[in-house]
């Protein structure tokens, strides 16, 4: 049995206290200069952990909103190395999770990437284009370095696949709320609650649902089954259309919604 990592321990403890888990996503490097302050603001607004995207040139899982923030960050010249350097200076009391596409990790080298995350104070990694079948070389390096690899589970997965994903996942299991890419949606897809239930049936690890969870009411709805939510595009949208402070307020409203359950 693998030792339970920092992120999973943290999330389990809060869940077992009866709290619904809130995990906002931001894009590293966006908005330029303000994003480290944003992380601190989100933690203060009630995030239980924070996902930081390391922008990639070809984000195939991401819709227009996160494509836009990624393009802006890359256009401003941010690099993965610089993002990790800035993260190491951020002072928060919740775990940080790096999300990026596999080529960023592969190019740096598995061991180097894992130790770079560790040195930056990051607890876990999400690599959405690295499925179970291709996972081993990275996952071994990550385990060795004490980086938890969160795995995604999609509504399209057959029943036999979910326990294997849940077993190999570290930190939590990331249920994909709909068949599609990231982005804000007007309504919660019925697949969100279904995948949450299917995952809860096969694991006692924390189950968080993301992709297409865009509002406090949708977060509350999916948390009738799930342990928590990941909210990305809707947070980024607040920044694009408004400001960092509006995004922080929005996460505060998500927190209030979840605490009302």
């Amino acid at each position: 049995m693998t030792a339970v990592g920092t992120l999973e321990r943290h999330l389990r403890q809060r869940r077992d206290e009866g709290r619904k888990l809130l995990l906002p996503y931001i894009t590293g490097g966006y908005p330029t200069d303000e994003w480290p302050r944003l992380i601190e603001g989100l933690a203060a607004a009630g995030a239980d952990a924070i996902e930081i995207g390391i922008p990639f040139s070809d984000p195939v899982m991401d819709g227009p909103t996160i494509q836009e923030s990624s393009t802006l960050a890359l256009g401003a010249g941010i690099s993965p190395v610089e993002i990790l350097a800035r993260l190491s200076e951020v002072e928060v009391d919740v775990p940080l999770i790096a999300m990026t596409y596999y080529n960023i990790c592969f190019r740096m080298g598995h061991e180097r990437f894992a130790s770079a995350l560790k040195e930056a104070g990051v607890s876990a990694a999400i690599l959405p284009d690295l499925p179970l079948e291709e996972l081993t070389p990275w996952a071994e390096a990550a385990d060795q370095a004490g980086i938890e690899t969160v795995l995604l589970a999609a509504p399209t997965a057959p029943d036999e696949r979910l326990p294997r994903i849940a077993e190999r996942a570290r930190g939590f299991v990331y249920g994909v709320g709909l068949v599609g890419i990231t982005g804000e949606r007007d309504e919660l897809a019925s697949s969100a609650i279904e995948i949450a239930q299917r995952l809860k049936n096969v694991t006692d690890k924390p189950v968080l649902i993301g992709v297409g969870v865009s509002s406090p009411s949708q977060a509350v709805e999916v948390c009738s089954v799930a342990d928590g939510v990941v909210v990305g595009s809707a947070v980024i949208r607040k920044i694009i259309d408004g400001s960092v402070d509006e995004a922080i307020d929005f996460v505060g409203s998500l927190r209030a919604g979840l605490d009302s359950i």
Binding site: F56, S57, D58, P59, V60, M61, G63, Q67, T71, L74, S79, P80, V81, Y102, N103, I104, C105, F106, R107, M108, P128, D129, L130, P131, L132, E133, E134, L151, L152, A153, A154, P155, T156, A157, P158, R161, I165, V176, V179, G180, I181
Partner: protein
Amino acid sequence: MTTTGSSSLMGNPDDAGRFGRFGGRYVPETLVPACAELEDAFRQAWDDPIFRSEFDELLHRYAGRPSGLTECKNLSSQLGFRVFLKREDLNHTGSHKINNVLGQTLLAKRMGKTRIVAETGAGQHGVATATAAAYFGQECVVYMGEVDIARQALNVYRMRLLGAEVRPALSGSRTLKDAVNEAMRDWVATVESTYYCLGSVMGPHPYPWMVREFHRVIGTEALSQCQEILDGDVPDVVVACVGGGSNAAGIFSGFVDTRAELVGVEPAGGAAVGRLVPGVVHGSMSFLMQDEFGQVQEAQSVSAGLDYPGVGPEHAHLAEIGRARYEPVTDTEVLNAFELLSRTEGIIPALEPAHGLAWMVKAKDELAGKTVLLNLSGRGDKDVAQVQAIRDGDPSALETVDFSSEANNTNGAQ
């Protein structure tokens, strides 16, 4: 019909879809079951004599196969070596792309998928997909980079004429790479009803293998056509242009187990193999143009069809084991070759296979006295307006090159 022996250097990949260390299936979790379903469906279809005969029949009655083999006497005497062209330009829709598309849309029909999505660069794959979708009565959406839409307006109209919806890819470099991103995003969202008709030997397993098998007919025909003319022998060198590398994979598959040397020709501004840096994008591990942090770079080429920063994983493998070599040529060399074939043989090539000819011109000393087969993967009608604009807009680009003169051998791609 050729059977693929496991002893062939271009046989089946391993169960994980690997050619050596390249290939694999690096896709979002949502697509993993779809890729597995597609792999199963393809394995069953390819082993099914009924599917194989339907496919052969389509290639023959609809696409017009077998395509011819033309000996270029004028060009041969000018270059100093014997030149043969495999005439994929004479297929229905004007390029080799129709082979793969007929195979995949037939497979989509067999799988009960009624909606087809595709990406396109130059528009050839998009036109071929729109054509086959019209034939089979399937709904068709083609993603095309905004830049490519502007430079290939005729093909955009063709696709619309054929009933396809052309959607612009507006992100990144707005070329082929971004069209692939958009097609994959569409597929992620519609996977239950939609078939993704990928246009080259790239992407997640089983695409690189499946697309090569659908193009294997090029190599099979060319081998027997060459043997007939050459008294059972094969050409000394087989040349093909390489973007993703589908036409090259098709023709190489016929010659990989013979003594023929295999040469893939890349645009200098998109030479993924030439740079030898491995990476992962669009579902497979291969050589990939990228910066020091792993951000994918934008390829630069006069030819929209080769404007791709990656290359099919099997080409990376063939390069790594030394069975094929990959050479770069510049846009200027390509434009000269485009005009050369038009003038000497009365054949206007697409800019893509003009890359192959450009390398042959450059390497004419090395090739002296040899027999060289070029896969003429497409016809140049789609490129005529673009080349005219380049030549009219920039008279200095019009280098009058005397190809019989030794003085021009240094016209190289550094």
